[in-house]
């Protein structure tokens, strides 16, 4: 079959021309700025009526930033709602661009999954599901899969090899699914991807970058590949992943909120960013040629934490692509795209610690030359996502100080008439209440719009389990997120402070499953917010009860941070909620085929090739088990063993792997002759000449003798 060539019409960008794009951005940002300025003037006038102090200037400046971020967030939802209601014809549906295309893909695509100390069985289950899902489309020949391992844990390395081999055996996918491990994990995930591009990037038109917890539907992947084939200026196609498999209350809250409110924000984001979108690091299709030309990341001036290697590479890569004239789209209507979330508040904050440093590094890029407006705004919003909390904290501190000062300075509470009072004939109390209502309205507007929309659209309402689960879930999510917010505020403030003081972060793997946070851990982690909450509450009560009542949502959140953190981490409460459809998402109530495939996937587990047997796990299995050793050695480069390396192997045999340091052990595991020598030795040598860990592993195969024991 002849492959259709892109016509001039196909090659045209499906988004608007420059003028309309400019108008959209002008309308969006100018309306947000207008509302923010109006709120600031209103508040300034209120201060004026209360006898203006110099401290009010600082408070007003902080309010301008905070309220600006709030308005920006709310307007994303507002414009998203507008786009959904009125912009159906104008919004670009990525899935429609691939409609009516049934011919085979002309180009080849790689699906890459970087992994770092992950549960390899679950990783392989996701790969298996995606593989089978693409196979069902009949276009498997156009895709190759790569598991790109940066795993440092040597036991996990062996487990990854066996899981991958089993997966390929079961799916008959040798030559289709590849496993590559980097010896050095230089530049972390960005370096891992770059290494893939340097080795194999030339063989593919694009790569679908996944995270270790990503899952995508094959039909949607195919649509994305078709769109990339059809629009040659498209550089990155980002999908909005949905959170799945939330067991703890915390994860269920997150996935419910993202699923219910997310579409509004996505449409709002797409309203102004159009072809200048962003890349979120995974679940995105990237054209390889421009990626290789533009996206090798430069080092930033200075050392970490602000300089050095860029940690949050994704935003920067999108910005560099857009700067080079490539388009970055948000495929907001791709539905079969999923990921998982950290299971507890503490895990969430640990991840934030890493992301925060990466985003703060982007301060440098705000001053980069030739970056387009959309890219600068994306970088700015990423930075402010973490600076907002310290600013909020500062705002609350200032407010408390002003209240304290007013209470104990002996100043009169009588107000003078301001401009607002004259124009609208309202007193200061009414003026402050109106401001509070507007701010609360902005805060809750996205939730109101999303819940209202979901209730009035039968299909959406049913997908969440009906009105009762939907509304009760939204109310619960609102209450708990209000309790969690002050704790997150303090944690982010501490994170930003520690980064400013020069402490950089390491690269930890994510905890994706848990039985919950232990009380001692929660007490240790949340001690500061709790103490702060009690002290602050005492101060607030000392000022007066009205102020304490006004501050109570913040103070309660701080004081209850330990029990809330523990309670939300519990999977058993999450399961109880799931039984009543509370905080349930459409994906949980009616799992799509690819999620069912991933849940049922078992190809990576086979007793014929296993490195998880009690007594011979990981490294021990790689030495003792004939098949695990065979697989491991076959993936190593041919080499010769030197005398010192032989000594090292002998030491490992006599003292056991636990007596060796990681670097020596890694050296042995990378040396094929050493692994073969050790395999031969543990089977040949009498028990008293080698460490008991080897003899016990050999003994573990003696089923018959054990079976004969009475």
């Amino acid at each position: 079959m002849d492959t259709p060539q892109p016509t001039p019409r196909d090659a045209r960008r499906p988004f608007f021309g420059r003028f309309r794009r400019f108008m959209r951005r002008l309308v969006f940002f100018s309306s947000a700025l207008t509302v923010n300025l109006a709120a600031c003037l209103w508040m300034g006038d209120l201060f004026w009526r209360m006898n203006f102090q110099r401290a009010h200037v600082l408070l007003l400046a902080v309010f301008f930033v905070l309220n600006g971020l709030l308005v920006l967030g709310s307007f994303h939802a507002l414009f998203g709602a507008f786009d959904i209601l009125c912009g159906r014809r104008r919004a670009v549906r990525i899935t429609r661009l691939a409609d009516a295309q049934t011919f085979p893909l002309a180009k080849r695509f790689a699906i890459v999954m970087p992994v770092y100390n992950e549960d390899c069985v679950r990783v392989c289950a996701r790969i298996e599901a995606i593989y089978l899902s693409i196979q069902a489309t009949g276009q498997l020949a156009a895709f190759d899969f790569f598991i790109l391992s940066d795993t440092r844990d040597l036991n996990l390395w062996v487990l990854e090899e066996t899981a991958w081999t089993n997966l390929c055996r079961r799916l008959d996918a040798f030559g289709r699914i590849y496993y590559r491990r980097r010896k050095s994990n230089a530049n972390r995930k960005a370096g891992n991807i770059a290494d893939f591009v340097r080795c194999w990037g030339g063989a593919y038109e694009g790569m679908l970058v996944l995270d270790a917890d990503s899952l995508m539907d094959g039909a949607d992947i195919l649509k994305m590949a078709r769109v990339m084939e059809r629009y040659p200026r498209l550089g990155i196609l980002q999908t909005p992943p949905r959170l799945i498999h939330g067991a703890s209350v915390f994860t269920r809250l997150q996935q419910f909120a993202m699923r219910l409110y997310g579409p509004l924000f996505l449409r709002g984001l797409n309203y102004w960013q159009l072809d200048g979108g962003s890349y979120w690091g995974h679940n995105a299709l990237i054209r390889l040629q421009p990626f290789s030309e533009c996206c090798e990341l430069p080092a930033l001036p200075g050392r970490e934490p602000f300089g050095g290697r860029i940690l949050s590479h994704d935003f920067v890569e999108a910005a560099l692509m857009v700067r080079a004239g490539w388009e970055v789209w948000l495929a907001w209507d791709i539905e079969g795209t999923y990921e998982e979330a950290p299971p507890t508040l503490i895990d969430h904050l640990k991840r934030d610690r890493r992301w925060c440093q990466g985003n703060l590094q982007h301060l440098w890029l705000i001053f980069a030359r030739k970056l387009p407006f959309a890219a600068r705004v994306q970088l700015f919003m990423g930075i402010m996502a973490y600076l907002a909390c310290p600013i909020w904290f500062l705002f609350l501190l200032q407010s408390t100080w002003l209240a304290w000062d007013r209470r104990f300075s002996g100043l009169s509470n009588l107000t003078i008439p301001g401009h607002v009072g004259k124009w609208f004939h309202i007193d200061a109390v009414t003026q402050s209440l109106i401001l509070a209502v507007v701010i609360l309205g902005l805060l809750f507007l996205p939730k109101i719009l999303a819940v209202g929309g979901a209730i009035f659209v039968p299909k959406v309402r049913r997908s969440f389990g009906g009105v009762v689960p939907l509304v009760s879930g939204a109310l619960l999510e609102t209450v708990v997120s209000m309790l969690l917010a002050p704790c997150v505020m303090v944690a982010h403030t501490m994170i930003v402070t520690s980064i400013v003081l020069g402490r950089s972060v390491g690269w930890g793997s994510q905890n994706r499953e848990t039985d919950g946070t232990a009380w001692p851990d929660a007490i240790r982690f949340h001690a500061l917010p709790t103490v702060l909450g009690f002290v602050w509450a005492a101060v607030a009560i000392r000022i007066n009860f009205a102020f304490a009542a006004w501050m109570s949502p913040i103070l309660l959140g701080l004081m209850l941070s330990i029990p809330v953190s523990v309670w939300t981490s519990r999977a058993r409460y999450g399961r109880a909620m799931a039984a009543h459809k509370i905080l349930s998402t459409p994906e949980e109530l009616n799992p799509p085929a690819v999620i069912r495939l991933a849940s049922a996937a078992t190809a990576a587990v086979d007793p014929a090739l296993s490195a998880t047997h009690p007594g011979r796990q990981g490294i021990v299995a790689a030495v003792v088990d004939p098949y695990v050793n065979g697989v491991h050695v076959s993936l190593l480069e041919p080499a010769q063993m030197s005398e010192p390396e032989l000594d090292l192997a002998e030491r490992c045999l006599s003292e056991g792997p636990h007596a060796m340091n990681d670097s020596d052990l890694a050296e042995l595991l990378y040396l094929a002759p050493a692994m073969l020598h050790m395999h031969r030795s543990v089977w040949l040598r009498p028990a008293d000449t080698i460490h008991t860990i080897w003899t016990q592993a050999v003994e573990s195969y003696r089923r018959r003798l054990e079976g004969a024991t009475p």
Partner: protein
């Protein structure tokens, strides 16, 4: 020790120590075959007996070597020689052993080809073809794209900040003075604002 057709009367009587020594050798060889996931007990017993017979023959000339070592050497040597014949590949001996074990696994030997294991030729054509086509590849043929970092072009403000940052990085005294100045400045501003 003897072959199956040897009458039991021809066997040399073994003392208690020798019995224990050959028991250990038997267990080791049997465990290795079980590690290869050979499920059939009769087959395993036959293979073990064959290996031990050869080992016992060697024991006459190498009395100082423990029976276990002799037996396992025979086991590994026999598997290696057989793999060499099946694969017909000129591989270095130890590497061949790993290649052979991998081929056995990928061919599905534990489930499908137990009866063929360590037998003389001819072998089923499907088995030979499967063994010879079994290998692992970490990736397809290399087809790389260059990735070269381009320097970050900063605007005038960014360049000045980068220079200043670099200066502070290299000169700790300047850094300390600057930080002290900042602390004093912020304190002064706060004092000015809040003393009102």
């Amino acid at each position: 020790m003897g072959l199956p057709h040897h009458p039991l009367e021809t066997l040399n009587p073994l003392n208690e120590a020798e019995l224990n020594e050959w028991e250990e050798a038997y267990a080791a060889v049997e465990a290795y075959f079980q590690a290869l996931r050979l499920r059939n007990r009769l087959l395993v017993a036959e293979l073990v007996r064959r290996v031990l017979w050869r080992a016992s023959s060697r024991k006459v000339n190498e009395p100082d070597k423990p029976a276990r070592v002799l037996a396992m050497e025979e086991t590994l040597a026999e598997i290696s020689a057989w793999t060499q014949d099946v694969l017909a590949e000129p591989l270095e001996n130890s590497r061949l052993a790993a290649r052979g074990r991998l081929a056995l696994l990928l061919t599905g030997m534990p489930d499908q080809w137990q009866s063929v294991f360590l037998t003389p030729p001819p072998w089923p054509a499907a088995f030979v073809a499967a063994m010879r086509s079994s290998y692992l590849a970490a990736g397809p043929n290399f087809a790389g794209l260059p990735m070269v970092a381009k320097p970050l072009e900063l605007n005038a403000f960014g360049n000045s900040a980068a220079q200043w940052w670099d200066t502070m990085d290299r000169r700790p005294i300047v850094r300390m003075m600057f930080v002290s100045f900042l602390v004093v400045l912020v304190s002064a501003i706060l004092w000015f604002i809040f003393r009102d």
